[in-house]
């Protein structure tokens, strides 16, 4: 499951967000905010995509640099929301 989340998140960032920021490759621990890959527009595209793709709810209070600063952080957030859904 974890691998799936990671590869889906990676693919979305690589195809939908990174190209318009002029970036080809993004490492899983790379800062998505400093590099401009996730900007004020991209963050809500990303949230909408994650909610739809994984059938989870992400609250506004979860839209933080800790959760969205890296691919690792996004994966952790999604995994915790999936776990919450299952519980």
């Amino acid at each position: 499951m974890d691998r799936d989340v990671r590869s889906v998140v990676r693919a979305f960032i690589a195809t939908r967000l990174a190209p318009s920021a002029g970036r080809a490759e993004i490492a899983d621990d790379e800062d998505l905010i400093d590099t401009g890959v996730v900007n004020s527009l991209g963050i809500f595209q990303l949230v909408a995509f994650l909610e739809e793709r994984f059938q989870i709810a992400i609250g506004d209070e979860e839209i933080t640099p800790e959760n969205f600063g890296t691919i690792d952080g996004i994966e952790r957030l999604v995994a915790s929301r999936i776990a919450a859904r299952a519980a």
Binding site: P19, V38, S40, D60, P65
Partner: protein
């Protein structure tokens, strides 16, 4: 009375030396410190040969040094050019080339990505110098903390702001000290900014909204808190910032306020100190404006209007009691010392209620575009109502009408310029980027209206036979040539683009038919 922007700081540094002038990223500078540091920078720049009228690029993320650099350049008698820290290197290189940037205030890391050809010196706000023309920030310590004597006049350029141009080349709007001060003086009188105010700076520094924040704060002896780039991604953090900094005056594009409204739980916050909320740059969707007005019962709301070429030229005070019955928010009436005219295609005034193009004249209007006499001639036209004076009208390209209350209402554009989150975008600029790709034979970009953002950009391209290029790689190509906000959200590859009967690309059809 100040006739140069830096004189606003002189007065406030004298009256309020120990008050915080600027805050950014958990750091702050008092008025005395800002005055001393910017004076040192001015001496250093002069020692490096920067002379009156020379262009100095500012190229680093927002920090307290941003304001030091602006004032330091002005005190040196030079002209600053704020460069978008997230813009593609090639575009920034074109700007540096266009206006002949001879000095930079930047970071060591960013300098490596740009290195303009005519560069004489680079002052580094962070990082280690590697060459003789690179100077560490600590070198400022050696220079006098009192300002060099002012030698400029009010018609000297203060800064150049680059904006999207229709042919793929950004154009540099030149603003003089008088242009900026006309606006700042009008603001001070209209909004009564005092030393007790705390202004935010949300807009990027290469965006003209920031002129309001910085210079109104300095002029009043108030504090300006810079919302740094990474913070703007997270609406709740921006709302925390407004609370923590006790912001009393906020100015931004409407979409930034809409993001706060939708995602920052404003109802649960203490925003009573916010006394003035100004917005400009695009149309505020009425349903959100009503919600904002309800959430901020104590704040006065104003819609400001003006292309970069005119600073702000009209304003409208939002009347809470009239809001429910309004389907469009007026852009309002002319600011002090500014005249606005609504003219038809033959240059005649139109009657109230009729549609015409908005023209602007007065001391806030730009003298023109840097190094582009042709574009300047087309945008600044002779004033037919003042045949005996060599006076120019700025042609905005905006279609407006005068309503029954004597206020102007914005209706649309007469060309292919659109707005997204307040940024001016020439669709031709993006099409030029697409055409620069070797596989592209036809390209058209259309904008569709979006409630929250202003507009969304969609591109349609036809490729050379046998070429196989993905939309993502075309986006990446665009990102190398135009800023992020101009990269189309979607790119549709077609065999060919639809044509009108006259053989032009049928934009209306592309706009209507959608695609992904």
């Amino acid at each position: 009375m100040a006739y140069l922007l830096q004189q606003l700081l002189d007065v406030s540094a004298d009256r309020h030396p120990d008050k915080p002038a600027v805050r950014a990223r958990e750091r702050s500078l008092t008025y005395a410190e800002l005055h001393a540091r910017s004076s040192q920078l001015a001496h250093l720049l002069r020692a490096q040969g920067v002379a009156r009228g020379d262009r100095v690029g500012l190229f680093f993320p927002k920090a307290v040094e941003s304001v030091v650099a602006m004032l330091g350049v002005l005190k040196a008698g030079a002209v600053y050019v704020p460069l978008d820290p997230h813009a593609p290197t090639r575009r920034l290189g074109a700007i540096a080339e266009n206006c002949g940037i001879s000095a930079l205030v930047t970071t060591a890391e960013r300098l490596r990505t740009l290195e303009p050809r005519a560069l004489r010196c680079a002052v580094l706000v962070s990082g280690e110098p590697r060459a003789a023309h690179e100077i560490a920030w600590s070198a400022l310590d050696a220079f006098p903390t009192s300002a060099p004597p002012d030698s400029g006049v009010e018609t000297d350029l203060a800064y150049i702001l680059y904006t999207s141009g229709s042919t793929g080349q950004p154009k540099g709007v030149m603003l003089t000290h008088r242009n900026a001060l006309t606006f700042v003086d009008w603001c001070a009188a209209t909004f009564v900014i005092t030393a007790d105010d705390r202004l935010s700076n949300h807009a990027p520094l290469h965006f003209d909204l920031s002129v309001f924040d910085i210079y109104n704060a300095l002029g009043a002896g108030a504090t300006v808190s810079l919302v740094h780039e990474e913070l703007t991604v997270f609406p709740r953090r921006v709302a925390d910032f407004i609370e923590q900094h006790g912001i009393t005056v906020w100015y931004s594009v409407p979409s930034a306020l809409v993001y706060l409204l939708l995602h920052a739980d404003l109802a649960a916050r203490d925003l009573d100190r916010l006394r003035l909320v100004l917005f400009a740059g695009e149309v505020f969707p009425m349903k959100y404006l009503q919600q904002l007005a309800d959430l901020l019962p104590r704040a006065e709301l104003y819609n400001l209007y003006g292309p970069t070429e005119t600073n702000v030229c009209t304003y409208h005070h939002v009347d809470r009691w009239r809001l429910a019955g309004q389907d469009r928010l007026p852009i309002g009436r002319a600011c002090a010392n500014t005249e606005v005219l609504v003219l038809d295609a033959d240059g005649r005034r139109v009657a109230p209620g009729e549609v015409g193009e908005l023209y602007v004249r007065g001391p806030s209007v730009t003298p023109g575009y840097w190094g582009d006499a042709e574009k300047t001639r087309r945008a600044l036209v002779p004033n037919p109502f003042q045949p005996h004076l060599d006076e120019r009208l700025y042609r905005t390209g905006d279609l407006v009408t005068l309503d029954e209350h004597g206020e102007l209402v914005f209706l649309g554009r007469r060309d292919n310029q659109v707005k997204s989150r307040g940024y001016r975008i020439e669709l031709g600029d993006i099409e030029a980027a697409l055409y620069a790709h070797p596989a592209v034979v036809e390209a058209a970009v259309v904008a569709t209206r979006d409630e929250d953002l202003g507009s969304r950009l969609r591109a349609f391209v036809a490729l050379k036979p046998g070429e196989d290029v993905t939309p993502a790689s075309l986006q990446a190509h665009c990102a190398g040539l135009v800023p992020r906000y101009m990269v189309p959200e979607t790119i549709n590859v077609r065999d060919s683009l639809p044509k009108t009967s006259t053989g032009k690309t049928d934009r209306a059809r592309l706009t209507a038919e959608g695609g992904v």
